[in-house]
Amino acid sequence: LQTLHLGSCVIITNLQKIQSEFSEIRDSVQANDQNIDFRVLRNAGSLQDTEPSDRCCLLRHLLGLYLDRVFRNYQTSDHHTLRKISSLANSFLTIKKDLQLCHTYTTCHCGEEATEKYRQILSHFEQLEPQAAAVKVLGELDILLRWMKETE
C-alpha cells in the first residue's frame, strides 16, 4: 500500500495493484485511440508541481472526471477489459471517498492553480467526442498514476 501526501490530506491506496490492473488492458485501450497526436493530461503539467495544498482538490476533480466521463463512456464487449475497468473504477471510487472525507474536513482546498489546471484539462478533454475522449484519457492513465506516485 502507498501513502499519498496531498497537502494536509493523507490517503492510503494500492497504486501498485491499480497499475497492474491497467497494464493488462493498456495496449488494447491505446490501440483504440484514433487521436494519437492529441494530449489531454500531459499538457497540463503535473500534480507534483501543483502546490501541495492544491493537490487534493486537483486529484479529486481528476478522479471525478474518470468516474463520470471516462469509465462510464468507455465501450467494450471484451469481458476481460470490462472486468479490469470495473476494478479500476471501484478502486478510484474508494480513493475518491477518502478525498471526500478530506474535503469534509476542509483539508481539500481548491486554490486558483488547481482550478485553472483542471479547467485546462477539461477544455482539452471536451475538444474530443465523449467516447474518443474516454479512450484517450483512459489510455493516459499511466500519467495520472505517475502523478499520484510522485506525491508519495
Binding site: 500500500l1 495493484k17 468516474l67 469509465f71 462510464r72 469481458h79 470490462l82 470495473s86 478502486s91 471510487l93
Partner: protein, 204 residues
C-alpha cells in the same frame, strides 16, 4: 420441454474466509438434465454510475456447480451486488440477486496455520500461504522470568523463516497473526507453540 419457465436459483449467500469469497445457492434440479449457471457482479461504481451494467464473473459464466469463487471479481473494498441465473440449453431462468451487497471487509480472518521448528539452534517458523494480500505479525519470546517479546512482520507465508538463534535451558515460544491491509483488519493470534534446545544453559 414442457414450456415451463426454468426456475431461478434460490438461497444465495456468500461465505467468505481469509479473502476467499464463495457465492453459493440452492441447485436447480431437473430429472435427467444438466443445469448450468451464470454469475454476474456489479461493484459500487457500476451500481452508482452505470446501473444497467453487470459483469460476467471471471470463473463462472457458465459453471455447473452450485457455487462460484468470486474472489477474483471482488477487487475493491466496496459493496458488490451478485446475481445468478440457471441455464438449460437455450433456456435461461430469471436472475436471482444476492439480498445484501457483499463487501470483502466482512471476510472472516482466522489465525494463520504455522509450523514452528528448530534447526540446530535456530528457531524457524513457516506460515500458511494465504495469498498476496496477507502479511503476518509474528511474536516470539524466550519463556523465562523476565520474558521479553520480539516481533517481526513477514510479507508472505509458505516459506521457512529464521526468527532467532536459541540458547539451551528455556523454551522459545511463537504466535502469529494475519494482517490484510487492503481491508485494514487482522486475525486473532494463533495459539503459541514452543520449542526448546536441549543441553545446559551456557554460563554467562
Amino acid at each position: 420441454d414442457g414450456g415451463e419457465a426454468l426456475p431461478a436459483p434460490q438461497n444465495l449467500s456468500v461465505h467468505s474466509a481469509n479473502m476467499k469469497h464463495l457465492l453459493m445457492w440452492s441447485p436447480v434440479v431437473l430429472p435427467r438434465e444438466t443445469v448450468y449457471y451464470s454469475v454476474e457482479y456489479q461493484g459500487e461504481y457500476e451500481s452508482l454510475y452505470t446501473s444497467h451494467i453487470w459483469i460476467p464473473s471471471k470463473w463462472c459464466s457458465p459453471i455447473e456447480d452450485a457455487e462460484c469463487d468470486v474472489s477474483d471479481d471482488i477487487t475493491a473494498t466496496v459493496p458488490y451486488n451478485l446475481r445468478v441465473r440457471a441455464i438449460l440449453g437455450s433456456q435461461t431462468s430469471a436472475w436471482s440477486i444476492l439480498e445484501q451487497p457483499f463487501n470483502r471487509n466482512s471476510t472472516i480472518l482466522t489465525p494463520p496455520g504455522m509450523e514452528v521448528s528448530r534447526n540446530g539452534f535456530h528457531l524457524v517458523i513457516e506460515l500458511e500461504d494465504l495469498g498476496p494480500q496477507f502479511e503476518f505479525l509474528v511474536v516470539y519470546w524466550r519463556r523465562e522470568l523476565d520474558t521479553k517479546e520480539h516481533a517481526k512482520v513477514l510479507r508472505r507465508g509458505g516459506i521457512p523463516v529464521h526468527l532467532e538463534t536459541m540458547e539451551p535451558g528455556a523454551p522459545y515460544c511463537v504466535k502469529a497473526q494475519a494482517q490484510v491491509k487492503a481491508i485494514g483488519r487482522n486475525s486473532a493470534f494463533s495459539q503459541a507453540e514452543c520449542v526448546e534446545v536441549q543441553g545446559e544453559a551456557l554460563p554467562l
